[in-house]
Symmetry: C2
Subunit: 300 residues, 2 copies
C-alpha cells in the first residue's frame, strides 16, 4: 500500500528522509508550457534546504542544453549537469557502453535534441532531421542507397515520423540482424499541454511490429538511465527519492534502482489506475495529488 501524503507532518518527514530528489518533468513539473501550480516554490524550498535536485526525463526531443532553456522559460532554476534526458543517456550508451566504432553511424528517427546529444558524444548519424528523410513522398527501395556504415538504429519521439524514415530504419535492421536496435524510451503516450499524445514507444512500434524484434530501451525504467546518472553523480540510493507521474517508467525505475518513489497524479496516472480492481501491480511508496502539495511543509 502506498502512503497517502496529506498533512504537514507527512511532507516534513519526507524532507528529512531524502537528500537527493529525482524528478520526472512532463506531467510532474509542467504540462507543456505551463508549470504545475506550486512546482517552482517547492523546488526553491528543496534547494534552500540543501537537497540535491536531478531532473530525469524520458523526453528525447530535447538536449540537456535545450532542456535548460525550457526550465529558464518556465522560471524554474536548473543547471545542465542536473538534467538527465533519454537523448543524453542514449548518446552516452552508444559512445561509452556499446562503444560504437568511430567509423560507424547510427540511423536516427528523432529530433534536433537527440542529434545534438549524439554530436556532443561524438557519435556519427544519418537520418533524423535530414530534409531528405522528412518527406511524405512515396518511398521505394529501388531509389534508396543504404549507408554501409550504419550499424545501429536509434528511435525516439519524432513528430516528423513518416513512411520513408520507418522504411529506411526497417531496411537497416532487416538486412542485417547484427544491426543494433535502440530506443530512447518506450512511453506509450506523453502529456502535452492540451492532453495525451502518442509517445516515443508508439513511434517505434511499427519497427517492433514489422521486425518482430524488441529494441533496447535506454530511458526509464531501464537501468541504463541510472547507470548514466551514477557515472556523474554520487548519491546514496537509500536517501534518494524518485518523483514521477507514470508507474511503468518513473516508479518502476526508482524501484529497480533501490530508490524511494513518490507518485503524483498531475500526469498520465489517475486515481483509478492505483485503486480499484484493475489497479497496477506497480505500487509507489508514496502518493500525493501534486508536487505543489509539498508547499505545506514550507510553512513549518
Amino acid at each position: 500500500m502506498a502512503v497517502r501524503l496529506s498533512d504537514r507532518e507527512h511532507y516534513e518527514a519526507l524532507l528529512d528522509k531524502y537528500d537527493t530528489w529525482m524528478f520526472d518533468c512532463d506531467g510532474v513539473l509542467w504540462h507543456g508550457d505551463r508549470p504545475i501550480e506550486g512546482a517552482v516554490q517547492v523546488l526553491d524550498m528543496l534547494r534552500k534546504r540543501g537537497k540535491r535536485l536531478l531532473f530525469v526525463t524520458n523526453n528525447a526531443t530535447k538536449s540537456r542544453r535545450s532542456y535548460k532553456t525550457k526550465f529558464d522559460q518556465l522560471g524554474i532554476e536548473a543547471h545542465v549537469d542536473e538534467i538527465y534526458g533519454s537523448a543524453y543517456a542514449a548518446a552516452v550508451y552508444i559512445s561509452s557502453v556499446m562503444k560504437l566504432p568511430k567509423d560507424k553511424k547510427v540511423y536516427v528517427i528523432g529530433m534536433l535534441g537527440l542529434e545534438e546529444e549524439l554530436r556532443n558524444e561524438g557519435v556519427s548519424y544519418v537520418g533524423g532531421t535530414d530534409p531528405a528523410d522528412c518527406t511524405l513522398e512515396s518511398f521505394s527501395l529501388a531509389d534508396f542507397t543504404p549507408d554501409p556504415d550504419v550499424a545501429a538504429v536509434l528511435c525516439g519521439l519524432d513528430t516528423a515520423i513518416n513512411y520513408t524514415k520507418l522504411s529506411k530504419a526497417f531496411h537497416y535492421l532487416h538486412r542485417d540482424p547484427s544491426c543494433r536496435f535502440l530506443v530512447t524510451n518506450e512511453d506509450s503516450t506523453f502529456p502535452s499541454a492540451h492532453g495525451l499524445l502518442p509517445g516515443a514507444g508508439a513511434v517505434s512500434a511499427p519497427l517492433r511490429f514489422a521486425l518482430n524484434r524488441d529494441p533496447l530501451s535506454v530511458g526509464k525504467p531501464a537501468k541504463t538511465m541510472l547507470d548514466c546518472i551514477q557515472a556523474k553523480v554520487q548519491f546514496n540510493p537509500k536517501r534518494t527519492i524518485m518523483i514521477g507521474d507514470r508507474l511503468n517508467t518513473d516508479i518502476l525505475f526508482g524501484q529497480a534502482g533501490g530508490l524511494a518513489t513518490l507518485l503524483v497524479l498531475t500526469g498520465v496516472t489517475s486515481e483509478e489506475n492505483i485503486t480499484g480492481p484493475n489497479s497496477s501491480t506497480i505500487v509507489p511508496d508514496y502518493v500525493t495529488p501534486s508536487i505543489g502539495d509539498l508547499r505545506l511543509a514550507k510553512s513549518s
Copy 2:
C-alpha cells in the same frame, strides 16, 4: 506435414481436386510491378479448365477497380467481381455488419483505394488523403477540433502516415472508448518490387501501443473477409484452395475457412520458415516454390 508438390502428377491431382482457386496477389502473382514467372499462363490454364478464380488480397491501398487496372497492366485477366481486397471488406463490414449510422463518420488512416471503397458503400469519412492531414507540420491538440460525428477509426497501409494522423486517430479512440477501432489487416510487412517494407500492421502499431487496445481486423486471416466473399459467391469449401505466401494470413485464413491451402515461396515465407527447429506451427496442406510450377500440369 505439408505435401511438397514437385511433379506433373502432383499438379494434375491438385487441378482435379479443387474447383475454386483463391489467390493472394503480392508475392504470389507478382512482386510490385513484375509478374511472377509463369503466373499469367497458370491463371489462363485454370480458366480454360473451368476453374473459378478469386483474388483475395489484404492490400488496402487499392480499390477493386484500381486493382483491376493493375491486373490489366500486368497482362493478367481478372474481373472486378473476382477481386476481394481488405479495403472493400472493411467498407462492407462498416456499412453492412457494423451498420454505422449514416450520420456518423469514420476517421481514416489510408489511401485513395480505401476511400473509394468507403464511398462506394456509402460510408462517410474524414482524414485519409485530406491535405490537412497529410502534413509533417507539428500537431497540437489546441488547434484540433475533433469531428463530433466520428464513431470509428479505420487504419490501413498509408505511405503518407504521419504524427498528425496518428494523433487525431489516437485522440478519437482515447476520448471515447466506444469509438470503434478497425484495421484493414495486420500484415507486418509486404513484399514490394525491391524487397520487404513495413505493412499495414506496422502502420497501426502506434495506435495499438499508445492505446493498449487491439483493433478488429477485417483482412486475412479474419473470418470477416471470408464472410464478405461468401455473401457474393457460392463455393464449396471442400473443393476450394487458398494459395498464398504468408502463413499467418493466407494459410491461416484458408484453414479457418475449411479450405485447402497451398504455400508458395516467392513472397515473405522462406524455406527456413517452414523447416527446421523454429518453423511455424501453421502448416499448409501443400507447398510449391512458385505458382509458375503449375505449368507442369499443362503439358499433360
